[in-house]
Amino acid sequence: MTMNSMSNNSSNTNSSSTRRVLDEGDISRSLTRIAHEIVERAKGAEDVVLLGIPTRGILLARRLHARLAQITGRDIPIGTLDITMYRDDLRLKPARALEHTEIPAAGLDGKLVVLVDDVLFSGRTIRAALDALGDLGRPRAVQLAVLVDRGHRELPIRADYVGKNLPTSLREAVKVKLVETDGLDAVLLGAREEQPSHGEQPPPGGQQDQQHSDSSDKNAGSTQ
């Protein structure tokens, strides 16, 4: 899907307009801090369930899971939540393949669900995730952990745990690279390409909101 194809886009990584905002060490320290914050806020993380949002949110959730295990000595339930069918822009783009949703066996009722995603942008992905959660159970509370908050919210949504607040312009693109899919850990800030560069077909004329062609923009809404 969108994200996997991004890894091939290495030419952009080398171009002078791309800046490395976080490196491997920064990402690692951010996640460690977030893990500690989760334990602190949840007073021991007794009832925490981590839900990663595909694709990179899942990888980040796994890393948080490992850190929480170190801190608390317990195995925190972890799952994945695909929000594709809850998106508000479904009918603006070609139908897309679904990602895997896996809810821990103990369910979500009465739990403290921590949603994990890579970049918080318009907030539309998170709105979709909240809708999806409503069909899956009734958590005691829902919190949001993101590696990067790049601003430009289009909905009244905020993150509870943020790796880095990154003021950006709408002309810029934030790319999160993780070892598991991209071979390196980094957050890059560069100019947004004008051409759709990913594997999906460009939309059939008319709607060009497809310009957000990078991983951070899976939740992009209107660009105005």
């Binding site: 695909d82 069918m85 809850y86 479904l90 009918r91 603006l92 783009k93 070609p94 139908a95 897309r96 393949a97 679904l98 990602e99 895997h100 949703t101 809708d131 409503g134 069909d135 899956l136 159970g137 939309p203 059939p204 709607q207």
Partner: protein, 326 residues
Amino acid sequence: MKRHLVSTADLTRDDALLILDTTEEMAQISTRAVKKLPTLRGRTVVNLFFEDSTRTRTSFEVAEKRLSADVINFSAKGSSVSKGESLKDTALTLQAMGADAVVIRHSASGAPKRLADSDWLHGSVVNAGDGTHEHPTQALLDAFTMRRHLNPGRGKDLAGRRITIVGDVLHSRVARSNVHLLHTLGAQVTLVAPPTLMPFGVDSWPCETSYDLDAALPKSDAVMMLRVQRERMNAAFFPTQREYSRRYGLDLGRAAVLPDHAIVMHPGPMVRGMEIASEIADSARSTIVEQVANGVSVRMAVLYLLLGGSEPAITTAASPTEEHTK
């Protein structure tokens, strides 16, 4: 752009795998407390059934409702069709009412194709069984059931698996759809039927044929028994039911020579004691009930992929694009 599912022969391997993988996710929905997705909210799907069907129509209806589509059931009985309305006028009426998709079952082979190729309707056409031609969603749910048992996992196909389809192949749209789809997925299909129930021109199908069930069974990974469709028979195709059952029915003795992992399938409705013994239909290796459950998931996947976005995710014959067809 057209977006239809009329024949499994139109599906590429990638399309078929995309549908099966999507089905895998849809199957999870059925295990939830809230079995509902907002995906097709505001879309209207018409179930246009010119031929009796409980199982398929109900299955489509459940799938449509789980995706939040508005469902309209239109059956030939008690409708304007019984007053002599043509397919064209029915289609024009549905178009005027704003149908986003039409699920059609018709006793005439080719009726869905006619609808899909015409400009009577702008919505998607999904073939829910046409005459003795095709029944694509049944084949997809069969393939999904086989994959779950024989080669589970996302992105997996049925390469090298041996599938035996037994019975009234002549009148079976299920057999025809299965042969094309299973061939696309890499399986080796053997059709077993008495000579009178083997369709004309079957040698051009991508499968083997045999008149001998006992020879085919020991090397089968899956056996699909077909119902003898007496309602479509206007001639004597075999001497007696008992003789048919003795030579082509799956009884305890025959089931015993199947490999241990082999599954027994039936698209339903089945006639116990005719093509399949009751003990086999209720045995652990029978997937008959599971097939019904998978039917809902497969139809959700097809409807989602055809209607969920601005254009369908699966390439069909009506919309061949170069990069997808190869």
